[in-house]
């Protein structure tokens, strides 16, 4: 696993900008009458923000694929936990 290629500082600044814009979006969308779409929209924005941080600030895009697998497995585990438990709760 050779040393990761270096990320230029401008990338971090652009990520910061994107995160701030998405923050404004997620707070702003909370005031729109979206009904039950609020949660999926918020979560989609969170996932986008998390992806930006993980891919660029945490260097996952240039790291050995194994790191990406490890990161995904963590979230996958939560997904299984929530999905199957929720399936039980919703079908009782």
């Amino acid at each position: 696993m050779r040393n990761a290629a270096e990320t230029r500082p401008i990338v971090y600044i652009l990520v910061w900008l994107a995160l701030m814009i998405l923050l404004a979006l997620t707070v702003g969308s909370a005031y729109l009458p979206l009904g039950s779409a609020h949660t999926p929209v918020n979560l989609a924005i969170s996932v986008t923000q998390a992806s930006l941080v993980m891919l660029f600030s945490m260097h996952l895009s240039s790291a050995h694929p194994l790191m990406r697998v490890i990161a995904i497995i963590g979230f996958f585990g939560i997904a299984i936990m929530i999905t199957l438990s929720l399936f039980d709760v919703l079908t009782r």
């Binding site: 497995i73 963590g74 585990g77 936990m81 199957l84 399936f87 039980d88 709760v89 919703l90 009782r92």
Partner: protein, 543 residues
């Protein structure tokens, strides 16, 4: 019986090795050597096994009579809780990984030590610290919730020392995580030149899969215990039905960890079995790649079946159906492994040294345990069998019949490597057979009891069940001897056993290419691997 030695016998230990280099408190309690840390773990879990075993002995004595005449009902609850908590978290989970794993992983991959030796030592201290908390809870009056600590009893109604036990287990959990993390990094990063993934011994594959579970599942337990402990302390929480909380939520979160945990207990045993069986068959393990994939599949599937512990808890029938189906799936890779061990024996040159007796016992008992798991995976059958002695028998067949026998087999197999001494073979064969008989006498009657309807965790039962309980308790007295004997002769052998050569069994594997006991840095020169795993059949002068 004489200690038979096969294979080259150079390098009888009279040189500097990891045991001879320093013998004071500091050199042991501040060691960074993975081999010494493995021994620290052996000593610790042996003590804890004794405590958990004593609780079991009291339980079996009390169950000799239909009425609980030995201990009060409250004490009985505390005994089976103590037995479960100690045996699961303080014996089985660490057993093979923290003892044999710690000792062998660097040796088997050809490294000088694990990736993070200081984290390794820290993990032992966390384990001891967690164990002390739990022992405190026992001395201060015990816990009566069962090892599963279900809410709302654990969070609201029990007046016993739940918080202390939960804290002890929480701390010990970090010990598990650090061990798993260490193994994964070592296996990925520090294999010797030529040691490709598919040349690794299956024991390493099993340590790798176990470590994945340790790392991914244990944090879930940690947080679940925290939620339970905080709810108990502050009287408010998400498990409390009075506020609209859901007790089943605790069960979902608890079993999300605790089902994979049972694979932490059995997958290492599978790895040990593969090493021993191939050696004493002089055969490569049949279907090596399928064995490796099966190990990974068991670890992966193990994460999606936890609801089979909750079939009759109030879980929805639809969720139950899904979990039942997934549970049947997880049996497939396990079955593949059993077939492959059996196939390894085909046309093999089999010798019945004590490790082989333990390993063969493992295969048979794991098969019975696994098949009875299918009974329990069946939604309809489980309604009858849940919370009966059938379940108790099933998991003891796996955890004791399989896992503990494999552990003993592994301790015997690698004893010459670890100590530089041979154990007395005659006594060892006797102990293995005694254990096998004692085990079956203890636990087979429990399948019958469960089928007949005796509930688990009950100190009293109808008189018509007594004959089976007496058989079971009689068997447990044989088991005691089966476990104490090895303790005695293994300790004896450290001083009086015949000195072991580097490779007394003529086994394949890098650990056998270095001296017994190994030097502190494992190898005098980094090994270079040129042959496949279990290259037994490629020997030219072969019978």
């Amino acid at each position: 019986m004489s200690s038979v030695v096969i294979g080259a016998d150079e390098n009888i230990a009279s040189h500097e090795n990891y045991l001879s280099s320093g013998w004071n408190w500091r050199s042991w309690l501040l060691t960074l050597d993975h081999k010494r840390i493995g021994i620290l773990y052996v000593v610790t879990i042996t003590l804890l096994f004794g405590i958990g075993g004593a609780a079991a002995a009291l339980i079996r004595l009390d169950l000799l009579t239909p009425h609980s005449q030995l201990v009060s009902i409250e004490t009985y609850n505390k005994l089976f809780t103590l037995h479960g908590v100690i045996m699961v978290w303080f014996f089985l989970i660490p057993s093979i990984p923290a003892t044999l794993g710690n000792f062998l992983v660097p040796l088997m991959v050809g490294a000088r030590d694990l990736a993070f030796p200081r984290l390794n030592l820290l993990s032992w201290y966390l384990f001891v610290f967690g164990g002390l908390f739990t022992i405190y809870a026992l001395l201060a009056g015990g816990v009566d919730t069962g090892w599963t600590m279900y809410s709302p009893y654990s969070t609201t109604y029990s007046t016993s020392h739940v918080f202390a036990v939960a804290t002890g287990v929480f701390i010990a959990g970090f010990s598990s995580i650090l061990t798993g993390l260490n193994f994964i990094v070592t296996i990925h990063e520090m294999r010797a030149p030529g040691m490709t993934w598919f040349r690794l011994p299956l024991f390493i594959w099993s340590m790798y899969a176990t470590s994945l579970i340790l790392v991914l599942a244990t944090p879930v337990l940690a947080m679940t215990l925290m939620l339970m402990g905080i709810e108990r302390t502050f009287g408010i929480g998400v498990f409390d039905p009075a506020l609209g909380g859901d007790p089943l939520l605790f069960q979902h979160l608890f079993w999300f960890y605790s089902h994979p945990a049972v694979y932490i207990m059995v997958v290492p045993a599978m790895g040990v079995a593969s090493e021993i069986i191939s050696c004493f068959c002089r055969n490569p393990v049949f279907g090596y790649r399928f064995m490796a994939y099966a190990i990974l599949a068991i670890a992966a599937f193990g994460f999606v079946v936890w609801g089979h512990h909750m079939f009759v808890s109030g879980q929805s029938a639809y969720a139950g159906t899904v979990f039942s189906l997934l549970t049947f799936l997880v049996s497939v890779p396990s079955a593949i492994k059993v077939f492959n061990w059996t196939a390894t024996l085909y046309k093999a040159h089999v010798t019945f040294y004590a490790p082989m007796l333990y390993a063969l016992g493992f295969v048979g008992l794991f098969t019975i345990g696994g098949l009875t798991g299918l009974f329990l995976a069946s939604l309809g059958l489980d309604v009858q069998l849940h919370d009966t002695y059938f379940v108790v028998a099933h998991f003891h067949y796996i955890m004791v019949g399989a896992a503990v026998m494999a552990f003993f087999g592994g301790i015997h197999f690698w004893w010459p490597k670890i100590t530089g001494r041979m154990y007395p073979e005659g006594w060892a064969r006797f102990a293995a057979i005694l254990t096998f008989i004692g085990f079956n006498l203890t636990f087979f009657p429990q399948f019958i009891l469960g089928y007949l309807g005796m509930p688990r965790r009950y100190p009293e039962y109808p008189p018509e069940f007594q004959v089976w309980n007496v058989l079971s308790s009689a068997g447990s007295s044989l088991l005691v001897f089966g476990y104490v004997l090895p303790l005695a002769y293994l300790l004896w052998s450290v001083k009086y056993g015949a000195k072991a050569p580097a490779n007394p069994w003529g086994a394949k594997g890098l650990e056998w290419q270095t001296e017994s006991p190994p030097p502190t840095l494992n190898f005098h020169k980094t090994p270079i691997v040129t042959e496949e795993a279990y290259a037994y059949r490629t020997e030219s002068a072969h019978g």
